[in-house]
Amino acid sequence: MAEITKDGEKVFVRPGRDITASTVEELQRKLTSLIDGGARDVVLNLTEIEMIDSLGLGLLVATHNSLSEVGGGLSLTNVSKDIFGLLTTMRLNKHFPVSGE
């Protein structure tokens, strides 16, 4: 289960497991309900996550889009070296900040 901490409009989410086809639906539900509940800035902590597949990428982009719509934003922290490389090569870090810390 994802770990969630709230700080006003800012929410920290730590999925704790790879973001792939099997885990995407639950995470989508969680994020949608957070945003409906007023979350504006979502910080996804990707500690311990080694893999993001196409659906996972879709989820990240959709989350960014949903948050932008309400004037907020997404950021990723603690990403692994591979994932950092993937997201920067794909230029996704131009849409939302991605950091290894």
Binding site: Q28, L31, S54, L57, G58, A62, S66, G71, L86, R91
Partner: protein, 389 residues
């Protein structure tokens, strides 16, 4: 609304209008100042956005506050010199402030007005993304006319040297990657093995939001430079031909296409090239891990066992290097035991490139059986790899 609220709203509206009166003139001054802008001028433009953001937020005017916040961010980046006030940027700011003024004039309706387009444009300004207007760039569009990339002419020129083709490869991460049981990382790695990703872009607006169900289509466009030629590239990436587009026409229109494409076929030399390997090479160097020896106008490139798997990119570089240096290049494949498909594709493309320049690429001796067996197992016709026998 209480009369106190009324008062607050009234003074907010008055103050905001005052703040915004001079914005246009200030922005024009900023654009004119360019690189040598004065920090105080930026502050002058920043302060209205900042105070409107705060007051609007307090009064529950979320849309106004959000737009002000976005403007504030851009000005902050300018103040920090992460972004310069070039015309493109200043225009976006002008539009943003115009919209802000009209939202304030219509504050009762402001919550219903869609500002997402303007916000997206302003958010798209980030360090490293703005170019000086004097740099020459080429606009690369998708076949459907969607503007994809703006590349500087120099990068395109450099990528085309040595016979490289430049393509727009159109992936749909769901259909072409996920449904083929691959991951995005697989795809990127595959591409980087056989060429150079000049630029790429996920079409995030097509993906939609969390409520749209984002697993329908994720368009991913890659501007890719490689020596692999058009009839081979589709097989290599397992993508229909219709999704791989050469940008030749687009850059030709801008006058960038070089002589390689406009000249006719070059005569191929037919005399056999003999080589006396007992003598010392007059030239010997290691190119990207491959030993290359030169005997006059003839080169010999030795393919060692560990150099041919996952190494297409380096092989490609070594071949291109040899193309420039020699009239004829002989491949010493005696050491080859294992290989992958990219290796064969690179060889095949290189052969075509050599041919188009009137040069020769051939094997020194009959290639080991492993090579012919592998080629056959990959479905490559004999004549495709015939140059190796």
């Amino acid at each position: 609304m209480s009369s106190e609220d009324d008062e607050l709203l009234k003074s907010f509206l008055e103050e905001s209008r005052e703040h915004l009166e001079n914005i246009e003139a200030d922005l024009m001054d900023l654009e004119e100042a360019g690189e040598g802008f004065d920090g105080e001028l930026v502050n002058k433009i920043f302060r209205p956005a900042h105070s409107i953001k705060g007051s609007a937020g307090f009064l529950g005017l979320v849309t106004i506050s959000k737009l002000a916040h976005t403007l504030e961010n851009v000005l902050h980046m300018i103040r920090e010199r992460q972004v310069l006030p070039v015309p493109d940027v200043v225009n976006l700011l002008l539009r943003g402030y115009d919209l802000l003024a009209s939202l304030i004039d219509n504050h009762n309706e402001s919550e219903n007005i869609d500002i997402s387009q303007t916000v997206a444009e302003l958010t798209n300004i980030f360090p490293g993304n703005t170019k000086e207007s004097s740099e020459k760039t080429v606009d690369i569009d998708s076949p459907g006319g969607i503007s994809l990339f703006e590349e500087d002419e120099l990068s395109i020129e450099q990528a085309r040297r040595g016979g490289k083709f430049i393509y727009i490869v159109e992936y749909d991460l769901i259909h072409d990657v996920h449904e083929k049981e691959k991951t995005p990382l697989d795809v990127i790695t595959e591409m980087q093995k056989t060429g150079l990703i000049l630029n790429c872009k996920v079409d995030i607006s097509t993906v939609g939001t969390l409520k749209d169900g984002f697993s329908k289509k994720i368009p991913f466009y890659v501007l890719f430079a490689t020596i692999i030629d058009p009839d081979v590239i589709s097989a290599l990436f397992q993508l229909e031909q219709s999704r791989i587009h050469s940008i030749e026409k687009q850059i030709k229109d801008v006058g960038l296409a070089g002589e390689e494409t406009s000249s006719g076929p070059v005569p191929v030399r037919t005399e056999p090239v003999t080589l006396d390997l007992s003598r010392e090479p007059d030239w010997l160097e290691e190119v990207k891990g491959f030993a290359v020896r030169g005997y006059g106008g003839v080169g010999v490139l030795a393919l060692n066992p560990d150099a041919v798997v996952d190494n297409a990119r380096d092989l490609q570089s070594a071949l291109l290097f040899s193309l420039e240096k020699f009239e004829c290049l002989k491949l010493d494949m005696s050491g080859v035991e294992e290989m992958d498909l990219s290796f064969l594709q690179v060889l095949r493309s290189a052969h075509k490139t050599f041919e188009s320049r009137g040069k020769i690429l051939e094997s020194m001796a009959a290639p080991p059986e492993t090579v012919s067996r592998f080629a056959t197992s990959m479905g490559l016709r004999e004549e495709a790899m015939g140059f190796l026998s």
